[in-house]
Amino acid sequence: MKHSATECLLKMYDEQHELEDYQSGVPRWCTGCGDNAILTAVQRLCRDEALRPEKTVFVSGIGCSSRFPHYMKTYGFHTLHGRALPIAEGVKMVRPDLTVFVNTGDGDCCSIGAAHWIHAIRYNMNLTVFLHDNQIYGLTKKQASPTSPIGTKSNTTPRGSYLDALNPLSVTLGIANASFVAQAVDWIPESLFEIVKAAYHHKGLSFVRILQRCPEWLPKSLDPWMQDPDSIQLLHHENALKLSAGLSKVYKNQLLHDPLDMNRAREIASTDHVIPVGILYQNRDIPCYEETRQSKVLRTTETIRNGFETELDKYSV
């Protein structure tokens, strides 16, 4: 393992290199786009976990964030706006041997894809889902998204958006079978990586909402949060994430939270004066749909033939 790890580490590098030159050097995101930070964290994860590129699939919808798979030298499926989750479910269902990640945007997941989001949580398949939440429609050039704070000026809301932002965390925590719900911010690389890592290691659907900067359309919107470390509330617990010395020094606002406490998790999700960062809820005992649905029969030509003949017998005259 150790061996293959370093091997893969090296591999990742060439691949990283390859990736770069076939993707004309740089991911096609604006400079300062939070997606770059997410990409870095995920690429580091792949390297550290020595994921085999051919056994890894990134599935995305449509949006700036959904270009993610193109920047990974793994298998990828850049699908349709809002449909990343059901397609990823199909992949995982027939190929439990694959590691499947999902990249989706706040419009992709919470607007057009909302029905699939709810049901994906309920299926609880072993998928690692990153919600790149920049609180705006990026690719289509600045329209309000469900997570845009009320008053957001956009091309479809020139005088400010009309509705309170949808809270992806509190919605997710209201859905049956939610098994891993976390929040991260793109501008704290260390915690971002730790959360991404914990999500990857969770067996079941891990839902990670990542607050992501969109300097192109909302240049200043997250500044208040970035400038005031105390507006970030780090969640920690022995059964969840432990805080490094480094992080603790910068982020003094810390909260001990047991990830099994759903009521508290919902309260925390609903606080609006701070951004909770960490694992809000984790329950390792919820079964995965692909396992409860795994057929017990070994699929051979013979089983098919026999099953088929048995059925025909029923209808013989």
Binding site: M72, R95, H116, S295, G307, L312
Partner: protein, 625 residues
């Protein structure tokens, strides 16, 4: 006629020999007329008769008892030779109450003067309204010239079972076995099979009722029929189209069916949900049709071809995802069990309204294969073919059945399982250095796809325009190249198809072109006209896209060509309709456009299968014109 009448007549008996007869059994839903009908069909099939059974289902889930719109049951067309469709009106009907009978009369489903075997218990019913309603209806029917026999079914059943409501259907089955001179042993075997899972006691009492019905009929009815049988050489099975589709899925080696419930497609997934897991398959009920289609596409992308089953409204919703599968060249089989449209339309009724949507439904140029089984046997084999084409060409294959095929039963030769039906295991071998995920063949447009797990094949599939590396590309030439490749595959497939067979002479006065479930009725009409020396022939298309080669040559050998379809076309007789605005039926549009032949069309969209006699009339009129 009075209650005593049949008893009197019972002395002088006569057994009439018939070429065919249409019989139906109707009751309130829950009284078992359905099962009685299916069993009768199966018994007839065992006897070697040709049969076609058609479900009679009320629009409501549980209509009130004795309601005109509540008729539930089965109609069986029994013939001495092979039967290809439901035929015309009913010759003999068994009714458990007079109200459901009224419904059938209103729908003009009964042949003038047809024989009616009517449960007589209502005549003496304590509730006055009921008994009066019965008497009034009875007398009206008699006056209308129907041969009404009042049968004390309830009374007779009570001699055997406590709750006659449970057993009446078997008593009726017994009567019918007598009437059609069926071997009672066959009936017993059939009952044993149907109630297989149940306790022996259940089977026994049902057999008792069967025998009672048969004896009663023998003793009291003044008529019986014999429909000579011509037993098939090969072993036969009797199923409906939805079961055939489900068995086709099983036999094609597909492993996953993703669906969202919708009438009339659901029974396919009901049946599959029951049996698919036994062969390691899986039915996934998704949150909606879009998710069902997406789930199937995801699964196909990562393994072998999968299938999604739906009906009109669901098909419309799947359009965008289908377009993705086309663009990304992911194999997928989509079954659309057509129902009455547009919109929610007539969920339980038959229509061929989705052909154009199947071909042109997704935005942009999204070439896909469209097939339409014409018989129930076809439903089974079409799925196997569809899977093969989908995988060989990395294409979406749409299979259009309809609400008539889905619920009708017909015997056909028991399929001999064939390993070659199964999909080969998906490729996990390393990808050769430098191979490209979309290495389109210059002539055929075909490319081999890489499946996750294949070392060296890593790439990102996308619904955006892409080059051979699957990189997003906005280059004009690359866009053209991709469109060309996806389109050429249809031509490549078309080259492998053989020309359609002509039913009747290869040339003549009139050629009828059809597709889908109308085949039996069309050919029956054509045959009867040919028997009278009319120069009519027909062809029936199983591929709507691409169309088989050689069709133009066939069309040109006839003076007139017309399609018979059950999708809308304007009537040329309508005041404001002329050639510059008439809307033609779907297949007619396609034929006219491709072959520039003046193809006329006649269509009827009334939620019922078109009757052979109706088609006959239409063709005669066309011949005269």
């Amino acid at each position: 006629m009075t209650l005593e009448m049949p008893l009197k007549k019972a002395k002088q008996k006569a057994t009439t020999t018939l070429k065919e007869h249409i019989v139906e059994i109707i009751s309130d839903s829950g009284e078992g007329a359905q099962r009685c009908g299916q069993s009768l069909g199966a018994i007839a099939a065992r006897m070697g008769n040709g049969i076609w059974t058609t479900e009679i289902i009320p629009a409501e889930i549980r209509p009130p008892a004795r309601s005109v719109a509540g008729a539930s049951g089965n109609r069986i067309r029994i013939g001495s030779s092979y039967i290809t469709n439901g035929g015309d009106e009913t010759d003999l009907v068994v009714a458990f109450n007079e109200q459901v009978l009224l419904g059938r009369v209103r729908d003009r489903e009964l042949k003038p003067g047809c024989i009616i075997l009517l449960e007589s218990m209502w005549r003496k019913h304590p509730d006055l309204n009921t008994s009066m309603a019965y008497v009034e209806t009875h007398d009206r029917l008699v006056a209308a010239g129907y041969k009404v026999y009042e049968i004390p079914m309830e009374q007779e059943c009570l001699l055997i079972v406590a709750n006659a409501r449970q057993g009446k259907n078997m008593f009726a089955l017994g009567m019918l076995c007598h009437i059609y001179s069926f071997d009672l042993q066959m009936a017993r075997e059939q009952i044993a099979l149907t109630f297989g899972k149940k306790a022996q006691s259940v089977i026994d009492s049902n057999i008792k009722l069967l025998e009672a019905g048969q004896q009663w009929a023998q003793a009291n009815l003044d008529f019986s029929f014999h429909i000579p049988a011509s037993p098939a050489q090969k072993p036969q099975i009797v199923i409906n189209g939805n079961t055939a589709v489900a068995l086709g899925i099983m036999a094609s080696g597909m492993e996953l069916c993703a669906m969202y419930p919708i009438t009339p497609a659901t029974s396919t997934s009901h049946y599959l949900s029951d049996v698919f897991e036994k062969v390691g398959g899986l039915v996934h009920q998704a949150e909606d049709e879009i998710a069902a289609c997406a789930f199937a596409v995801g699964a196909s992308y990562a393994s072998k071809c999968t299938v999604t089953v739906t009906s009109g409204p669901g098909y419309s919703l799947k359009q965008e995802v289908i377009g993705l599968a086309v663009m990304a060249e992911i194999p997928l089989v989509v079954v659309n069990v057509q129902r009455g449209g547009p919109s929610t339309g007539q969920p339980t009724k038959v229509e061929q309204g989705d052909l154009m949507t199947a071909i042109f439904g997704s935005h942009g140029d999204a070439p896909k294969v469209v097939m339409a089984p014409a018989t129930i046997e076809d439903c089974f084999y079409s799925i196997i073919t569809a899977r093969k084409i989908a995988e060989a060409f990395n294409m979406v294959v749409v299979v259009l059945t309809d609400a008539s095929l889905s619920s009708s039963q017909q015997p056909f030769t028991r399929p001999q399982f064939n390993e070659s039906w199964l999909a080969p295991p998906f490729d996990q071998s390393p990808v050769p250095e430098g191979a490209k995920p979309y290495d389109w063949d210059a002539t055929t447009g075909l490319a081999r796809r890489f499946i996750p797990g294949q070392p060296g094949g890593m790439h990102t599939v996308t619904g955006l325009a892409h080059d051979r590396q699957s990189h997003v590309a906005y280059d004009p030439e690359i866009n053209h190249e991709g469109l060309r490749a996806r389109s050429l595959k249809l031509a490549a497939l078309q080259k492998t198809l053989s020309p359609p067979e002509v039913f009747g002479d290869a040339e003549g006065d009139l050629l009828v072109v059809g597709w889908g479930s109308t085949k039996g009725a069309i050919e029956e009409a054509v045959e009867s006209l040919r028997a009278e020396g009319k120069n009519v022939s027909s062809i029936h298309l199983r591929f709507l896209l691409p169309m088989q080669p050689g069709i133009k040559e066939v069309l040109q050998r006839f003076k007139k060509v017309m399609t018979i379809e059950t999708n809308w076309s304007d009537s040329p007789d309508d005041e404001i309709i002329d050639e510059s605005n008439r809307r033609y039926s779907s297949l007619a549009i396609l034929l006219r456009s491709r072959y520039l032949v003046d193809v006329d069309c006649w269509s009827e969209v009334k939620g019922q299968p078109v009757k052979p006699s109706t088609i006959r009339r239409v063709l005669l009129a066309k011949l005269k014109k």
